[in-house]
Subunit: 153 residues, 3 copies
């Protein structure tokens, strides 16, 4: 069995950002020389996620607006009464007692999930026609790491 | 290491549907002849999910009603004020500018996640007593593919 | 390829509880003698989840309060109008017709996801600086099982 590990550091300009990483994952698989296997793509931080979906800007704007209602930041006004109702009782996250302001990003990490596993067949990522791999940053503007771990033969 | 890949095409009668696939996954494992390993079960489309839960119709009806509140379709009236508040600002998904009407299905894909990994022990799926594997279709009535990838020895 | 399987039984004092299991996962990897690989950590029940996040009590209290709004128990008053709107039509889960009262726990299982895969590099869990592995129980006070499956070389 072959194993190959790539760490990628991502430092987004915006606090929240979608970063397409399909090509990074494909490159790691090529470097590994694995024909049949799996590649784990996993955020090493707890305020980010990894999502496989379409590279369509409308979906990304829809998704972020919606995640901001489901898991509202407390550093800005909630979008509406539903978002307000999903903020913690008292209006601020307990996590912020430690000086943080990213409580919402931990909950977005829960919703999105921090990792995916992509199948490798015939030396290539075995994705469907519209599947692209995205790193979803919810508390960026600082260097954060992602691990790409290829396993197979 | 052995690898075995099965593609399954699913074409649901209903737009949204739960399809039990435990037996398909178990069959792929038997064909692979793998005694110890893992099997990745992953939707190849971006408007579907894979969920491991009980094969109990009440749970499935509960889950779909609830997902329709959390990620409301714009092709029908929202169930209540909470669902209305979780629709995009303006009432329709940006993704629909391209002529689609499945913006909600992309968000349901995010919530459910598009894949699971099932452990294989002693040549069998190592699931708990009530765990069944379901493909969850959110935009069906057309052929869509699922990959089942078995790895192990 | 080496494979090593550990089953862990968890019986929480509280109905809902976060149980840190990073050390159990690390121990399984050491026992396996795997240097490069992956370890699957998967609840064998359908009313629990596995989450990788910070071991910070504020985050855990925030997360449980919030999950109780998104997927409200019907065995107590909903926290507010948003939680009430996310209960099933009629106020109770269809799943409860069978005598259960854990319909919300099945939906929390969907949100959290029941499993994670942790990379193994140089014989150790390759986690980020704040990543800890938690079993999240949503219907405990009885013995429930978790599988830890190590694969690699």
């Amino acid at each position: 069995m072959k194993a190959h590990t790539v760490y990628k550091t991502i430092n987004t300009k915006e606090r929240r950002e979608f970063v397409r990483i399909t090509e990074d994952v494909a490159a790691a698989v090529r470097e590994a020389g694995v024909q049949e296997g799996m590649v784990l793509v996993s955020a090493m931080h707890i305020t980010a996620g990894v999502w496989v979906n379409d590279d369509e800007p409308g979906i990304q704007t829809d998704a972020l607006e919606w995640l901001d209602k489901l898991a509202p930041p407390s550093w800005r006004r909630p979008a509406n009464e539903v978002a307000r109702g999903l903020l913690p009782e008292g209006g601020d996250y307990r996590h912020h007692r430690l000086g943080e302001d990213n409580g919402d990003a931990h909950l977005k990490n829960l919703l999105v999930h921090h990792q995916v596993v992509v199948p490798i067949t015939g030396g290539k990522l075995d994705l469907g026609p519209w599947q692209e791999v995205f790193y979803m940053e919810f508390d960026g503007q600082r260097p954060k790491r992602l691990i790409i771990k290829v396993l197979g033969d």
